[in-house]
């Protein structure tokens, strides 16, 4: 399927970068992860994988003629610069969402990528989750008739460190963005209007930044469907990921995955393990599937199904959401 001499590089070996690197090593025998760049690389981790080079300077990857594609998994504010350089050097690009924090920056990136004629796939991994794909198939098969409403619950297990929160772009651009994309992916309709009801319960320092850690969001789509999204940075009981679609002929649900299938039933109660801890465990297969799609697209010269325009669309919703939060009024999404 994939040429043996297909070589890739990775910029940013944080939590998600390491995961992608391990996924390549363990799942794609035809792909060689040649080089990794990170300002403070975890030496022990690096040595455990068969990677040729470890740089602090990412330009060494970007300028390497042998490398066909680059995975950008560095902090969000650095994405745009790396994407530009990669595109100019004719590298295909896989970049973690949200690729940039403003609409204008994303538009610029899309232009560059198109002009340089390289592929850009964005890490909206949930589209590759087999459960949500089945849900989408059932919607399109007409299993629940016309869709009336959609409800997404997206809660993290534990609030990330403040340093991450500070550079994440805020709850709407960092977390809810997956949900905006999912709604648009499942329905094939764009979000028209957004109202954000948010608050700070967990990390008081977020208040000064104008950010929130908990929100209930009301959406309306172009085709009239109404949606609600529930976000929170911390549950303690695990990574809570559910979707519910209510239609004229029934209900579609995707429920949570637990850490294991064991139940303990005693004279007191019935108990079982927490939910899976994070995106890495819950969406494990989807991260492999999205890379598989990326590599296949490059090999067969087909455009990836999730690219710049999809993340642009979701970021436009998030930006309208930020305005809604500020003004405490529903906002039309500016396209």
């Amino acid at each position: 399927m994939i040429n043996k001499d297909f070589q890739v590089g990775l910029i940013g070996a944080g939590r998600i970068g390491k995961m992608h690197a391990e996924n390549i090593a363990n799942n794609f025998p035809g792909v060689k992860l040649k080089s990794v760049a990170d300002p403070s690389i975890d030496k022990e981790w690096f040595e455990s994988l068969d990677i040729e080079n470890c740089y602090t300077n990412p330009d060494k990857i970007i300028n390497d003629d042998k490398i066909h594609a680059v995975l950008i998994t560095s902090p969000t504010p650095t994405h745009i610069n790396f994407i530009r350089k990669c595109a100019i050097n004719k590298k295909h690009i896989f970049c973690e969402k949200p690729i940039a924090l403003t609409v204008n920056e994303i538009k610029k990136v899309i232009d560059i990528v198109e002009n340089e004629n390289v592929f850009l796939q964005v890490g909206l991994n949930r589209r590759f989750d087999n459960h949500f794909q089945e849900m989408r198939k059932k919607i399109h098969d007409g299993s629940i008739g016309d869709i009336y409403t959609i409800h997404i619950t997206n809660y993290d297990s534990f609030i990330p460190k403040f340093k991450f929160l500070h550079s994440s772009g805020g709850l709407l651009l960092d977390m809810s963005i997956h949900d905006f994309d999912m709604v648009q992916y499942l329905t094939g309709s764009n979000i028209k209007e957004i109202f954000v009801n948010g608050n700070v319960f967990i990390e008081p320092k977020l208040k000064e930044m104008g950010d929130i850690d908990t929100a209930t969001i009301t959406l309306e789509l172009d085709n009239g469907i109404m949606c609600s999204i529930q976000n929170c940075r911390q549950t303690h009981y695990g990574y809570d990921q559910r979707i519910e679609i209510f239609g004229s002929d029934g209900l579609l649900l995707v429920e949570n995955d637990h850490e294991n299938l064991c139940f303990l039933i005693t004279n007191n109660d019935t108990s079982r393990a927490k939910l899976k801890n994070s995106f890495i465990e819950r969406y494990e297969k989807s991260f492999i599937a999205e890379l598989n799609h990326f590599f296949e697209c490059i090999q067969s010269d087909k455009k990836p199904i999730v690219g710049g325009s999809d993340i642009l669309s979701a970021v436009q919703v998030a930006v309208a959401g930020q305005e809604s939060l500020k003004q405490n009024l529903p906002q039309k999404v500016i396209r």
């Binding site: 109202f195 009801n197 929100a215 109404m226 949606c227 929170c232 549950t235 029934g250 529903p330």
Partner: protein, 330 residues
């Protein structure tokens, strides 16, 4: 001990539930049933039950300990005034009235005459929700961040009913407004409501909506939301979910049966119960026991005129929000 004698006004769908429950209670007698459409035939009830078509019979009835009002809501106010001349122990179905001024009038009357006036927010007495409330109060999930109620009917009522109902927010959502207040011990501070007619265009032609999403801020900062529909083909969908600083509490649907079936096609199991009377059967009994307990002089809490007033105010604010497409302060 002397029997508690109860009178019941309005022998419709909900009146029948209360009458049946009372007839099964010990130490309690259904002494009188009043309904203009009722055959004056005691056979329907107990040998001791008198029946009448006219509420005026109340003024001549001595020894009534409590009156239960289950008539259509447009009659509630006048009937409470009449009933209050007989006894101070009154139970009135929701909605008490659709006009906040009328409710305020009843509130005044209630204070002046020291009425023991209960409102039929039966869901407060549902054993699952009582357990939920107890766990919240015991601090099981710490401080509440978010509360979400899903409340969907299996099928819409008649268009004639909808026209009289005051609309989805005053007829249906009112239970959910009350439940949010009850569970959180907070008041609704601001409402953003979105709603549409998606199920049946006749509902839209009658000026109402059948599908809604309500997004609220409570006085203590909690974020609350409600999802309503007049028609869920799979049954009566009644769920509550609460996220707090230490975890989550969820009440799921009660099912028609507990059988799981697995075949080469996959697995299937029972749907949610189809009818509110089945889903909330226990709650109707328990709210009546609670009413009778207060007649006997027990000090217990109960849904009051104030709760009726607060929920109607929320419903009206939701109507206004829908009209203006912006959040409305209460």
């Amino acid at each position: 001990m002397r029997q508690i004698k109860l009178a019941l006004i309005g022998y419709g769908r909900i009146g029948k539930i209360h009458a049946d429950n009372i007839l099964q209670m010990h130490g309690v007698e259904l002494a009188l049933v009043i309904d203009p459409l009722l055959d004056e035939d005691g056979q329907l009830f107990d040998s001791r039950t008198k029946t009448s078509k006219d509420i005026k019979v109340l003024t001549a009835s001595r020894e009534i300990d409590g009156i239960i009002i289950c008539s259509p809501s447009i009659y509630h106010i006048d009937q409470i005034k009449t009933a209050a001349t007989n006894t101070k122990n009154l139970f009135c179905e929701k909605p008490l009235a659709l006009d906040p001024d009328e409710i305020a009038f009843i509130q005044e009357l209630s204070i002046k005459q020291n009425l023991n006036l209960h409102i039929g927010f039966n869901r407060r007495f549902d054993p699952d929700f009582q357990k939920l409330k107890k766990d919240i109060n015991d601090g099981v999930i710490g401080d509440i961040y978010q509360i979400t109620i899903t409340s969907r009917d299996p099928s819409p009522p008649s268009i004639d009913y909808i026209k009289e109902s005051g609309g989805l927010f005053l007829d249906m959502t009112i239970h959910d407004f009350d439940m949010i207040r009850y569970l959180t011990n907070a008041e609704i501070d601001e409402i953003y409501a979105k709603g549409k007619c998606m199920v049946d265009p006749n509902i839209g032609n009658a000026g109402d909506i059948d599908t809604a999403m309500i997004n609220m801020k409570l006085t203590n900062g909690i974020i609350a939301s409600i999802n309503n529909s007049r028609k869920a083909v799979y049954g009566y969908d009644q769920r509550i979910e609460i996220l707090g600083s230490k975890g989550s509490l969820q009440v799921g649907n009660q099912l028609l049966h507990g059988v799981n079936k697995g075949t080469k096609k996959g697995f299937s199991s029972g749907n949610p119960k189809h009818f509110f009377i089945d889903r909330y059967a226990d709650s109707y009994k328990l709210e009546m026991h609670n009413f009778i307990d207060t007649i006997k002089g027990k000090k217990v809490s109960y849904p009051s005129v104030n709760d009726a007033l607060k929920t109607i105010a929320a419903g009206l604010a939701a109507n206004k929000s829908l009209l203006k497409n912006k959040p409305i302060k209460l």
